[in-house]
Amino acid sequence: MKIELKARLFEYFKNFKKDKFQLWVTIYLITLFAILVWDLLFLNSSAFKMLSSAIFNTFVISLFAVLVSFLLGIFFAFATEANFRFNSVIRFVVKFLLDSINSIPQILLLLSSYVFLIIFFYNKELAQILWLVFSLSIIFANDFFIEISNRIQYFKKNEFYNASLVLGISERKIIIKDILISNSKNHLLNRIILVFSSMIFLFSSVDFIISVGLSTNLSLAELPKTLGNILASLDSKQDILAISMLIKNPLYISEILTTHLEGISAASILILTLISSYKISNSLIQKMKLY
């Protein structure tokens, strides 16, 4: 049994050389786990509790927002690409809305959505989270819409779309089963990875901007704890500034890794997630030949 496990592990690690996707997923998960274990050992319990709930909130809100924007993307793509599902007026309205959203810079859209958040949902935490998810989803739904539309358009030119249609097979089934599930799942997975990392970056950036004081109406205490607002706290800023001490005294590294953990961990997790997502996505493209 032990020998078999050893052989399996050996095979798994050996595979890293040709499977960079597997390599980067493993690097990401192991490093994330290592940071959390390190924090558990060296960070005080209230700070650890705050950091872990920030990680949880950031990831869950982003994942939930990815899911909603994916579903919105599918709806938009259906509304514009499926010939028999929607009439031309709905198609025009959807296209107009998407183009309008597309024309506004993402960060402006998210900042303005925070204004709505303060006006309408002040002190209602669940409503705040739902609004956050919705505004993030609207911003990224266009990414999914473009990917899904491109896939549908590509396969519409392929003869199997018409060949299935003239046999009386429903267009909805052709698009969902044949085009999206069986021929585009890797493309969509890759898009999900990219949108997830962009979502985390945008979400944390806006959270950071608000937290450092661009908004006078909103205080940190009223928003769910996230990596962005942890980074904006005074303690975290000091933690990150402490890195400069390494120039004068390289041995200060032991202090940084044990006493300045809050800010360093939040920043590391964000950077790790962004770099890993980029690498995971690139290696998935290579592995599945998505180009």
Binding site: N162, L165, I169
Partner: protein, 489 residues
Amino acid sequence: MELSVKITLSENQIIEIDSFKLANRKINFIFGESGIGKTLISQAILGILPKDEFKIEIDGVEYAQYLELPGVKEIMQKHFFVFQEPSSHLSQTQTLREQISEGCFSETPRKEEFAKSLFYDKSVAEIEKLLNTYPKSYRPSGGEKQRIFNLMSFLKIQNLTISTAWNGYFFFDEPTGFLDVKTRNILIKQMVESYIIDKPTFLIITHDYSIISFIKEQFSEYSELFSYTEIYKDGENLKQRTFDEFEYLFWLENAVKNRPNKVKQSEVVMELQSGISIFGKKLNFYRNEYSSESTKLTLRKGEITYLKAASGVGKTTIAKIIMGLIHTKFNMNLDGKHITEKTPILYFKNHLWGKKLSMVFQNADESLNPKTTVKNLFNDFPRKIEKTLLQNYFERLFPKYDFSELLDRKVGTLSGGEKQKINLIRALILETEITILDEPITGSDLSGIKQILIFLQEQIAFGKSFLLISHNEDIFDTIVPPENVYYLR
């Protein structure tokens, strides 16, 4: 030349042949189902497959080493390969003239002569105009692109003959796939004439068995120059056997003798008026090749109607207009209902597709989702297909296969002939009144073709109506009465 070739495409996809034979300085015809590996084997031998993409062994030698062998280096320098899908091999940024004049083609003689011969249907001015166009903006038809590539191969033959005493290898992969019978015959004639002068080694991969009849008729005195073989699947491996051309000709002759020559004059199920305007052309139907009086295309119950035309005229376009997939001005009576360009597409969706009309598309590979299983191809039909009915259809076209095993196979692992038979079953199992067959024997070998013909004849006897579009005239003339043949111009 006799070689063993093994190409590992993926863990589960291996193409292996123990003995691939090529008669030196002969015109080798290789027949067989599409998608079983004929193209990859011939490209591997010529050394034009990418080294890193697949694991390749030739005669037990790794591909990288094989490419370094002295004989192979010479082959790589003195060969020409005509690809079956020429679209991706023409440069978009050069005119066709520039492409047939660059590099080794620049000083080649007889360029004009070859061009005139291959584009026999165009005037000198039209050929000039065609050669001065860029592929991207002009979009030459499949037949035109194929003629350009064949022209390049003839220039290369000339070129090698001038520069060396050794004539090289010329591989043509489905060189006539996009050509009508007349152009195909001119091409074959040109090929044989080039061969007789320069004597290189030709390999022609094709499914067009009717080439044999033409060669027998035109070049009977040169029969020793031709070699006919067939590649087939034997379990997991491929094998090559001699193809008996006389047996084929005998079968053809008998089939024509037994053909029903009188039509039943049963009720009309579809009428399509002449004068369809599309892409700046007006398309008309004629009862014979040289007639000037157009007529309407009529389909009768329990009969097969054959629509013939030169390549690129618009046979497939007509099929797509009937199916409502191309929008243009037309007039059609179908089962008592008058259908025009004003008929909403929803009418086709709700009342015709899969109910009264079905269609088999010409491109077998593209007509099915390659990532799904054969079983799933029958899951989403407008009505539930009983397993016993499905088994019945499969047994007719796949008599030697295990039905359950075949249902579980991934579509991507099937050969082109197998795929086209499945396309045929999909279109026929719905028992629609009319089925349009656009090149229904694409990719099939001779035994597959015979099975399809018998199956179609049974369906006709049951009262099914077919509109047939195919350039395999020799073969389909064996089942279509001459009275049911129309010409499209």
